[in-house]
Amino acid sequence: MSSTTHTSTIGAIGAPSRRNTELALLVFAVAIPCFAYANVGLAMTGEMPTGMLGYGLGLGLLAAVGHLVVRKFAPYADPLLLPLATLLNGLGLVVIWRLDQSQRLQQRAENLFGSFSPDAPKQLMFSAVGIALFVAVLILLKDHRILQRYTYISMAVALVLLILPMFFPAVNGAKIWISLGPFSIQPGEFAKIIIAIFFSGYLMVKRDALALASRRFMGIYLPRGRDLGPIITIWAMSLLILVFETDLGTSLLFFGMFVVMLYVATERTSWIVFGLLMSAVGAVGVATFESHVQQRVDAWLHPFSDTVMQQSDQVAQSLMAFGSGGVLGTGLGQGNSDLIGFAANSDFILATFGEELGLAGMMAFLLIYGLIVERGVRTALAARDPFGKLLAVGLSGAFAIQVFVVCGGVMGLIPLTGMTLPFVAQGGSSVIANWALIAILIRISDTARRPAPAPAPNPDAEMTQVVRP
């Protein structure tokens, strides 16, 4: 009996769990997409959309399930991660639905495939699967340190996931898909999470050797030749991905993630310098002989040139969409981003946001991504175990790099890649994998923010109490 009261006092000491804050934010995060949905409907057809109730209830239900599971299984988790992800997912659904309504895209699909099927219901289903995985991860993964046991297994699994697409036919020039019957999966999205587990398990053990054994030269620490082994291996791997799967995005993501984690693990700036040099050399090297990559670089440097426009005017249309949006945007449902045609609701979905919400909306949108990354890094700072720290940094770093690579590509900052915007772009693998990523971050932040148990009764204190009558 007395021992139960003993444990309950420990719970009371701690900081507030912030679950009610999360609930309030979640209500807000469900309300905003509903507003957007009504806005699109009113702008495009002049009346409230008929699916409004079903969509709002669907998103609300998913958010409620997510919240209740967090409340039960991760009561001290960060209050922002779930609402931010829900908002992005909800806005993505609205914009996919908005592009489904576009006459131009419907016509295009009918010309190409003979029929048009809307993507928004599918995406809502994928979001439900994503939330189911989120729930499963939170319930089954009681402690993120369990993942540490699977360091080398996860390396093997990640390698298999990365290599598998090579044996499947290329889709639109990039081999990043595996197709199993009616389903096709983008294994890179899942490999991202699994390889973060491997990197953090590996670097946690090896970081002392990588950090301490170095010589100082010209103000930076130069690592010994043999300590360059891991970074060269990962570099070679990501180059192989670039050459054989012709996917710049995945390749950049994995190499960038490793460099970020290496830097965090060793606190040596020299790794970043090395990483940047190596990726520059690799990218330029591959771009000189790989024709698919060359095309992408051409489309990036000269998006409006005749040769590029003949192949595909996507980048040009996307840039025009951003431009016509201006500062305040054209308003939801009133842009012409559907001119992009192919992949308007997946790789290029950001252009629709850019045109219809303008610079002001775009900034808020990117800030929401920034906040997710910030909460991830914050979780890493608060985590007490080195594995959890590295895993949280790795996952949020991967998230950040992915957002950068996609947004940079669509905006013409870097060559376009085949990556998807997390939570927003149409595509099952991406939504499902990113919900799992958020679940792991929530698990780590729950462990990190759990209040410290009460200090042990100190034998010295007993002595003083005896002396004092």
Binding site: M1, S2, S3, T5, H6, T7, T9, I13, G14, A15, P16, R18, L25, F28, I32, F35, A36, N39, L42, A43, G46, P79, L80, P83, L84, K142, D143, M204, V205, L328, G329, G331, L332, L357, G358, A360, G361, A364, F365, L367, I368, L371, E374, R375, R384, D385, P386, R450, P451, A452, P453, A454, P455, A456, P457, N458, P459, A461, E462, Q465
Partner: protein, 170 residues
Amino acid sequence: MSELTLTVMRLGFLAVLWLFVIVAVQVIRSDLFGTRVTQRGSRRGGEARPQARQQAAPAPRQQSGGGGRQRRGAPSKLVVSEGTLTGTTVALQGQTISLGRAHDSTIVLDDDYASSRHARIYPDRDGQWIVEDLGSTNGTYLDRTRLTTPTPVPLGAPIRIGKTVIELRK
């Protein structure tokens, strides 16, 4: 739909989106200032609390001594209650827990006074948890006595390794 309504909705939506971002940042701000400073300094001030706990603590110990090693009295987790790792918990599931500075320890101690393989905690055949010093330089203490042989750990008794204190809890 009139042009005016749509313009109002367009600007309204941007305002709501920004409002969400601002609210989120406010939550982060309250998160920064709203947490409590760790209770490490409260040793002197909070005398009433340890006293109360000492009255509560002996009871389960007697219970586990008299009532045998039933499931109910068995500890379910190991808690680090002092030192740099304060707050770390490890669930006890019948596995051996190794403590030390070595990277492959269950609990990696970041403590100047700890050896690389300092001690281990394991269940014996009856499910009683045993702590054993693995020949460490600075020793392992159960309560205030230095360990020389594998010793059963009562619930809530502090195991000291350098500046780190570890307890078994229910």
